[in-house]
């Protein structure tokens, strides 16, 4: 009896609360609605609910990604000029992403820019924002991640409408100035559901196509026909993000260099300088910040001007300055390692042939109870690896430890 009383009292209190905030959802309900905890459950054959096995799911996702990227030995566009267009219109202030769309986008763009320069050390990025119906160039093309990130974080306010046409016009005029060997790309992060344009956008799209600019769009709300058309015409990709995790995945797909399209960029020889590190303790004025600095820095081999960091373009003579590790950082795109084959425990009938430990990390490949765990093997050196090592080897290391550890197998490859 007393329990019922307490319950009724509790309900009354809740109703009063409801009247107060007027959203019609109980506080505890909101908790569930925000977390969407049911999405991390799946039903098995007997109808029981169980948490999704993230590890195998994650691995399957990675395998799909691997298959699409290393399909064949494709030429890659290694020297890229990428404009990132960020929509900061009213729609970017929406709070369906927490805390808001633009904050989430800025966070992912920051991570993306670092990853981009890690994978494409000879490429350049610039930022453009769409706001109040106009497009603004936030930063010019440059190779320093810090300056872009700083500029973006300082400008995070949303207002007005987004104009796709103004953005494309601005980017197209800027990209027309870059050298012919570079790959021209635009990545648009679009929050709005409409575009507010001053003229005929179809003409702008055709102009982008004629300038050989590859335009890709990642939407944050819903699919838009005009974005899809733009991407189809210019050879880019169009995706709409489901949540923050998916958004990150979609953005990061643009980090590895895309396949080169012969007519998009002309093969060319580029003159580059390999500066030597200046002796420690020497005082000189750097040409990039116009400040006197002690020690460190590099000297341009052509005009002997001092620059603070590599890679860059000499401010005085315009020579591209790189160091040999910058070039080496890109070589793994040119010599990708072969994807590993799945080893299914049922396929290998001979139990003695089954691997016991992962060749890379020495982790036991047997589940508790001596059941073989899922693993993969390299088709060249026939060593076995665990799933985590497989991902690490293909995504970060770009070496097969097995192939690198045996001399004779290497001479076959070479």
């Amino acid at each position: 009896m007393s329990l019922k009383d307490a319950e009724m009292k509790y309900n009354r209190e809740d109703e009063e609360d409801d009247d107060g905030d007027g959203r019609g959802v109980e506080a505890w309900e909101r908790d569930y609605a925000d977390e969407r905890s049911w999405e991390s459950l799946q039903e098995d054959e007997s109808g029981l609910l169980r948490p999704i096995d993230n590890k195998t799911l994650y691995h399957a996702q990675y395998r799909r990604r691997l298959r699409t990227t290393t399909a064949a030995r494709i030429q890659k566009g290694l020297i890229r000029y990428l404009y990132i267009v960020i929509d900061l219109s009213r729609a970017a202030g929406e709070t369906d992403y927490k805390p808001s769309r633009m904050v989430v986008v800025a966070r992912q763009v920051e991570a993306f820019i670092r990853e981009f320069f890690d994978q494409n050390p000879l490429s350049q990025v610039a930022l453009v924002t769409l706001k109040d119906g106009v497009a603004n160039s936030l930063t010019g093309l440059g190779g320093s991640p810090e300056s872009h990130i700083k500029a973006l974080m300082g400008k995070l306010t949303s207002s007005g409408d987004a104009s796709l046409q103004n953005g494309l016009d601005l980017v197209q005029s800027l990209l027309n100035q870059i050298p012919s060997y570079g790959h021209r790309e635009v990545l648009i992060l679009y929050s709005a559901l409409s575009t507010c344009d001053p003229g005929e956008i179809m003409e702008t799209i055709q102009k982008c196509k004629a300038s050989k600019i590859r335009c890709s769009v990642i939407g944050l709300s819903a699919e838009l026909y005009i974005c899809k058309y733009l991407c189809q015409e210019t050879g880019g990709s169009y995706y709409v993000a489901l949540d923050e995790f998916h958004l990150k995945e979609l953005i990061f797909e643009h980090a590895p260099p895309p396949p080169a399209i012969a007519e998009f960029a002309v093969a060319n020889l580029i003159k580059m300088g390999f500066p030597q590190r200046a002796a420690e303790g020497v005082i000189s004025i750097c040409s990039c910040h116009k400040e006197a600095k002690v020690g460190g820095g590099y000297t341009c081999p052509r005009c002997k001007a001092r620059v603070c960091e590599l890679p860059t373009e000499c401010q005085i003579c315009g020579l591209t300055l790189v160091s040999s590790p910058h070039l080496a950082r890109s070589y793994h795109h040119l010599f990708p390692i072969t994807p590993f084959d799945d080893v299914t425990p049922s396929a290998t009938n001979n139990p003695s042939k089954l691997p016991k430990i992962c060749f890379g990390c020495q982790l036991s490949l047997l589940n508790p109870g001596n059941m073989p765990a899922p693993c993969v093997s390299c088709p060249k050196c026939e060593q076995f690896f665990c799933l985590d090592c497989d991902i690490y080897i293909h995504e970060s290391l770009h070496n097969c430890p097995g192939c690198e550890s045996f001399r004779h197998s290497k001479s076959v490859v070479a």
Partner: protein, 293 residues
């Protein structure tokens, strides 16, 4: 992994991956003034002192042989608790015998090179596993005890390992035991923020190891460790293998040439007219001029 409460891991707990060069051709050659057995006594004493410095420290030894690489010792393995040195030496002997059996070449000119790239890759895989398994993990670092000359064929693989180590913030320390400097390890230590050292007197190897390489990463910021001497980041051209200050890069495959070519010898792309960065923009301007005027 021993079930240690992860709370106990402070910033001065180290995971030391030691890569030992076991290339027999190097150790027998005139280049090494230090016999392998003597080298091992120095290293064993060093490994024991690492394990004594902090009871949570972990040491893993990987051998980089002439024909293969292999794990030799792992201090976290419960079987290795009592007779560390004996186990290590026993495993090492097995490894060297195995390595010898794999040898197919009858004779080798000079000391040849050991499989540094393979052992580095294995060490990085192991470190990733440690990162994955415990939320609070010991600070990993890699120490290369290397003597053989650099193998030019391993350049891409070693650079890939270096960049991966840099991304995971794993410093690569190197102690070079050979006669010449190792350009690979110089770059590895410079890029990953490790220490590069080429000892002058091998009789005092233990002293070098214990004073330079025994300190954990946190304590390093209070010490004056050997500064990286000039690292040469100049590239060598693919056509004549000359070291160059300025050169031409193929925009498709990034091959380096010292002179202007008509066609890339690596990827076969045919180049347009000679264009440097400066002149590539000038033709456009010239084109526009008559139109404007």
């Amino acid at each position: 992994m021993t079930p240690v409460s992860s709370k106990l891991y402070a910033d001065d707990v180290s995971l030391l991956m030691v890569l030992i060069d076991t290339n027999p051709f190097f150790w027998n050659s005139a280049q090494s003034t230090l016999p392998f057995s003597k080298f091992l006594t120095h290293v064993l004493a060093f490994l024991n002192s690492i394990l004594l410095l902090n009871q949570m420290n972990q040491v893993v030894v990987i051998a980089a042989g002439y024909n293969s690489c292999g794990y030799i010792f792992d201090s976290s393995d419960p079987q290795n608790q009592n007779k560390r040195a004996e186990d290590l030496l026993h495993k090492l002997e097995e490894f060297v015998d195995n390595d010898q059996e794999l040898c197919r070449e009858e004779s080798v000119d000079g000391p040849g090179f050991s499989l540094l790239s393979g052992s580095l890759s294995m060490a990085l895989c192991y470190i990733q596993r440690v990162f994955r398994t415990v939320p609070l993990h010991p600070q990993p670092r890699i120490l290369c005890l290397h003597g053989s000359p650099d193998g030019p064929g391993q350049y891409v693989a070693i650079m890939n390992s270096i960049f991966s180590a840099q991304r995971s913030m794993v410093p690569i320390d190197s102690c070079v035991l050979g006669a010449q400097h190792s350009a690979f390890l110089q770059q590895a230590s410079y890029i990953t923020g490790g220490v590069y050292l080429k000892p002058q007197i091998f009789d005092g190897l233990f002293q070098y190891l214990s004073t330079v390489f025994a300190t954990d990463l946190h304590s390093r910021c209070f010490l004056q460790l050997p500064k990286p001497a000039g690292v040469d980041f100049r590239a060598s051209c693919f056509c004549h293998k000359n070291t160059i200050d300025m050169g031409y890069i193929c925009s498709v495959c990034l091959s380096i040439f010292c002179k202007h070519q008509k066609k890339c010898s690596t990827c076969g792309s045919v180049f347009g007219q000679a264009q440097t960065q400066n002149s590539s923009t000038t033709p456009d301007r010239k084109m526009k001029m008559p139109v404007d005027g």
